[in-house]
Symmetry: D3
Subunit: 334 residues, 6 copies
């Protein structure tokens, strides 16, 4: 949410600034899948602009080091990886330092601009999925989901939003504040009350951290049980996700690793030591299977979660089946 | 079903004829998703042929007016919109009146021919989905579905068809008549008897009014509860739909609006005034979720409903993700 | 609903009057599970009162003939069978004609009175299941269900009722009339529109023709698919049934036979001959499995459908397991 | 959990003491379905012992006042109502003050003793349902559930317990403390993490506030979505409930009312005023449908939730069907 | 199936004969839940008849030893335990050796006779559940199930039976032989083919080893996945079980232990040593949850599986809730 | 599994060798979807190399005869058909015998090499889907599935494999042998034990014979009920399939025909004549619906089964919708 971090970086000592951005990401000062991707892309651009020297190969090598540093700040974050990859995409084809720099800076500008444009288009597209007079449920604090809800509210279609507290971090507090400030009628509920209120809900709108190739959506812990409750009550469950949250790695077999954080957050407002002998488990995300998801709203349109592999293939070059080099015309031999 | 409407139109006073076609559509004299699309396409072609003048811009402007008039005859009908859009596709690139006319007339001829060809291909492809000796259920009066059933019957595979009455319009009467005239053993049942007979059914075959980007199928009211009953009994539920019934607008976020018609049809054979103080609700369509649909038979093959977004993208130009202009080669930076 | 039929019968020629009641039942002049049971019970009482003679055995034999005649008027109707059995219950223990007559007349008076009392208690008990401000759906024309809905309406809890047309007989017309006359806001919908409106429903209330020992409910054709739609949307589905609609025969293995009636009702408003070569199928009832039923409201309380066997055992003497004549005390030998 | 409250009451001014107990209950100083029932029963016994006078009718009238006062402390609590009813059961048959007093004091002693015995028997019976090496999940802070888990742990069968935080009151903190103090390996998780961990769970054990006649279980908010997640993963979901938590009123049509408490608990650790413009919704319980419950462990054995009506009938005298006074012997007349 | 084993036992050396029966049971020479129960009951009767002496206490003590010996032959077999308990039921109330002997001999005669009568009644009751022209599936080799199928076949209602091979013992071979010898058209399929054929099945009929208090049925390994497949295809799944297969222990919390046998049976027709390094797992039974079972046919009628606790309570004396000794009349105090 | 068959063929009398390969395929000496495809491709290459003559048209005609001969060896095998089609793809465009021969030989080399490469890539991609410490279930004897499992085992992620016997052919014996030889801990179970063990399984990995356009997977009989059991227990079910197992014919409407083989295999280890009067049914495959499949691992990545149509379109040229020849630009006319 806070992009000033990028601006803080001076023009000298480029790698130090990359490190600063990486630290801001790992310390959660820059948070949210889109924000960390943009911060990393910006850091690479700044790094490329500031890099001094003539040796094209050294430059590429340094760019890779910077990329790795940024990536290791949140190694399970798909948007971060994608933001870095898209920013460096094609850079290796540059023959000179200047070529490479031009590509990286232009890629970064485009990535940042297009990721912001994506948010606007998601709001525009997604608001169509909200029926008039809707009571909406949301979880955690997703700007993509909130943009959709707000756009629909401005169209006069939202009568109330139920927001979950979203333990352990209570991002629900940010959500209800943001909505209340914009005049949207909003109710805060604890996470265990989801199923109790589900019968009164017309549509659930959430964000996504990662979309996997088989259509599973990795998002804030608790998302999957909300989706299950929505399915049980025949309530549409809609995910809002920029295409850079789709994971190419899952197409190539990777399971999305679920980050697990420290005990303090679960114990809060107590401290872990207040409950001696107790283990605290703190997974940050969970996986919602595609059969509980009605639609994913992306900046390129509303798609079924089962189209995830196609979205990924369209975005990234992925090797296809190369079985023959015949023309595969329609002639049938049998 | 009745294409003569187009032929009725004289060669003079072109806009009046467009209006005639629009009225025939809104009065339900031309009915059925494919028929109204072809009628509108034909009306545009006739209009373009008859248009007098040299002013290319005026011509395009008039074409747009004609298109809007036709569209407003059934504004929720996706096939109508698609028929119009495909007929006018590329027309704006024409530099002269003659160029534009040529494009429109050629497009219309192609659209009408290809929509008829689509029906034949659907029959040919769809009959493969019917197992030998099958008892088939159908709903309403879809030529796509009936063509498939009849083709399978001619192959000796259909032992009996159960057709629903399809209240309020009783299109089931048309269906049983059409089938009985062709020698197909057919049984008429009331709509509430669907679940009772479902255990005896081998496959359900229905048409579609609209296919949405997330795979939901909008069709005659009652379709979705038949699909639910089929799922409960593990009976395959197959939808037959030409690709021009797939809705580009849903890809861009629109929900399909469900038309609601007047009380007379529900009260029939009484009149609304015979039941004073009673409200009559008359939605024309309902939405069947993709998880109840085994396959959609289109003229381009059998697809999962979850492929709807891909079918739409293949048919219409839809903006893709344009995040970078690098070559997105397989090089990985992380 | 119409008990005057019983009163029509003169005091002479007793068997003729029994035949009259039987005919009124088979001609559907006396309709509804409770009405036919009461009519048959009343006819037996009248018959017993009018019977002349001293021969106790001849009396009992004639009573059995009368019982069989009445039963054969609708042999698949459980309430009819139960009404007859409960009216004659214990009569064989009478030593004289007078004894037998006294038992039958008293049984009949009790059965009729208690069946009417049952309806009142069901209304009283059942209205508790309707939440404030409820939108209720009902099917066909069940007095038990309507009594519950009306009692809840008088308590200010019903905001609207959706009633299905209930093809082929359109009992929905009776239902909407009855409700509208009492000021209940009511909407009539065609049977295929059930699933479309289900999301707006808070509770479904229907009657029952028969409750089977494993909890399945046999009721007007269409009931089971409404129950399925209710389940799919997590809408409570409540059945209202007097205990005399529970079937002892199903406890002893019988499947409830589904009556199938003539083609005219399905063809209506056409005649069957208007659709030559078409078969018409007309099952009157269907079976709703217990897993789709939240509760059955009886005059003895709200029970799970899975308690049906216990209700039957409580009402009728049913043989239990007689494995030993030990005292089955808690002593354990192993 | 805390029975000292009863002991605090002096022997004079009996009604004042009843009021004290009522207040302790409404202020949540006495908490938990069993505790409040025992406290009320004890208060009635103390009241009866301390009551001075000779007028039997005045005594009965005062007892009723005391009963009402206690009941109104938590009017939706079924255990409280049952505890009071069972304590006063039969008291009206007492002819003198002494008779009435004797019955009440004896009933109370029995109720308290038997409710404690019930807990022990539930532990003994319920531990059988836990397989060796089990990972158990529990919710909130139910002594019935914890007794079962602890008994199984002492038998060496429990390898770990996952306890939910149970927002908004965080009774999970009490649960993990109680278990950790007894050496049971225990993990605390936030409520939204239930589905994520469910795959690793062997059995879920929870308590109940109320069991309804159709088998639904009313328990701490969040219970029903845990049950849903358990069902989804084929994990047995077991409820532990003394029979006095079964609700006779639901047999007679009542819906269990869900108490909704104030906003502070939901806002905590913030205050409601910290989030201006936000509504806070705080239902205390939710309803778990019987199809998600494998078994209810009561002191009289393991039963299906669908046996709830039978348990209620066995405990309380409930009117049965009285249709005839014949002997309902097996003679069949048809 | 083979009762001659009992007759083999000489009248001398009574305990030796008990041991012989126990060995025949553990060696599977006497097989089937009913057969082993009858064999044990007969052995106890023979033992009691043959026991020499006057000391009533010694006799009772020896009877207990005999009971334990028999029980330990298949300690997880509920029918065996129940047969023994019912045979010795009330014996301890005998004051003399002769009294005790009379009770045991009479109990045994009754148990054996009534268990045979139960089979006949199950056939009579159960055949009602088979619709005309039915294609039936069965599993393993249950005499209760086969009796039902055969009775229905004699009534002309069975068109074909699909029997599973029932690995590892291939009891399906016994089943198809028994049916083919009686002229029933029968098809043998391998166990993995169940789901493939399920769509063609009208009803599944199986036996039971044990019925648990919450309605779960323990039967031959493979039963539960057949039940799951039946549910998926809306095919009724009916269990046939004498009441002595219902387990009192499960009412008191016991989980039914699943016996696991040796590796030879799984390796067959190879030997385990032919597949070195391979573990062989051989559970004999599995548990079918009640939600997959439409009805249980017992000799006392058709019941829902959810009535299991009631059946158990009716058969065995089980402690009820004893909370007060008031008269629990309907007077309400609140 | 055995490729030596190809090598056996001499260089003379080319058609005779094609016949030899065809016979080896129909006699099951060459088994497995990939093996038969490679054998046929190799046979065509050999045939093309050995063919003598100058007449290009005669050569093409002979190639078609050879293709048909090979195809008719297992006409329902999709991989065989695809192997042949891909080998001959584009051959008709060859102008001379030499051209045609070059294309065929090169295609064959590529097909065989790429099909082997596909297996390696599937192992590499698929192992990612196996979580650390996993207990895996597999069915039949699929090299694609086993390669994945083995690759994961080498990464230290597999703790045990449960393999089904896979009646009637007992390919499970091959599977457990192959795994045990490589040190993988493996347990053999009979097919009916699948559901019993499913709760202990972390992921199911199977192969495929054919993947249909709507996502259904045709594989060894028993696969679909394993998938159903996995779904019931929320266990991921993963299919491993080279893209040449995807069926273009199903896109064009064909249902996959299920081969049914002779009675000996079902009767084994008895002979059919040992069970007189018994019919033996022996379907080789069954169809698993896509809703039970989490992901399909192909050599081009992990995809949802619902992407099958897209995979097919990418592999084979399939006609698309050709409705207009306008440029289908984004201009909207309405």
């Amino acid at each position: 949410m806070n992009m000033k971090v990028c601006a803080m970086m001076s023009k000298e000592a480029p790698m130090r600034e990359v490190e600063g951005t990486a630290k801001a990401i790992s310390d959660m000062k820059v948070r949210g899948a889109a924000n960390i991707a943009r911060a990393a892309s910006g850091a690479l651009s700044t790094f490329a602009s500031a890099w001094k020297g003539k040796d094209r190969d050294a430059f590429v090598s340094d760019l890779k080091k910077a990329a790795l540093k940024l990536h290791s700040a949140r190694p399970t974050a798909v948007s971060l990886r994608n933001g870095i990859e898209l920013t460096l995409s094609g850079a290796e084809s540059g023959a000179t330092v200047e070529d490479v720099r031009t590509i990286v800076v232009r890629n970064s500008k485009r990535f940042i601009a297009s990721s912001e444009e994506a948010l606007r288009r998601i709001a525009e597209i997604g608001k169509g999925r909200i029926p008039p007079g809707a009571t909406v449920m949301t979880h955690c604090n997703s700007m993509a989901a909130l943009s959709v809800i707000h756009a629909a509210f401005l169209d006069g279609k939202v009568s109330r939003v139920f927001a979950t507290e979203s333990r352990p971090w209570r991002q629900g507090h940010l959500t209800v504040k943001w909505l209340a400030e914009r005049g949207v009628p909003v109710s805060l509920i604890v996470d265990p009350a989801v199923r109790h209120f589900m019968k009164a809900i017309d549509v659930v709108i959430v964000g996504a951290d990662t979309v996997a190739a088989n259509g599973a959506v990795i998002n804030k812990i608790g998302t999957s049980q909300i989706a299950l409750c929505a399915k049980e009550s025949r309530v549409p469950f809609v995910v809002c996700a920029e295409t850079f949250k789709f994971s190419k790695e899952t197409l190539l077999g990777a399971l999305v690793e679920i980050e697990e954080r420290g005990p303090e957050e679960v114990a809060d407002p107590l401290r872990p030591s207040d409950l001696p002998g107790v283990e605290f488990r703190n997974p940050v995300f969970d996986a919602t299977p595609p059969e509980y998801i009605d639609a994913i709203v992306t900046e390129v349109g509303v798609v079924s979660p089962y189209s995830a592999a196609e979205v990924i293939k369209e975005m990234f070059s992925v090797p296809g089946p190369v079985l023959t080099d015949g023309d595969r015309s329609r002639s049938s031999w049998i």
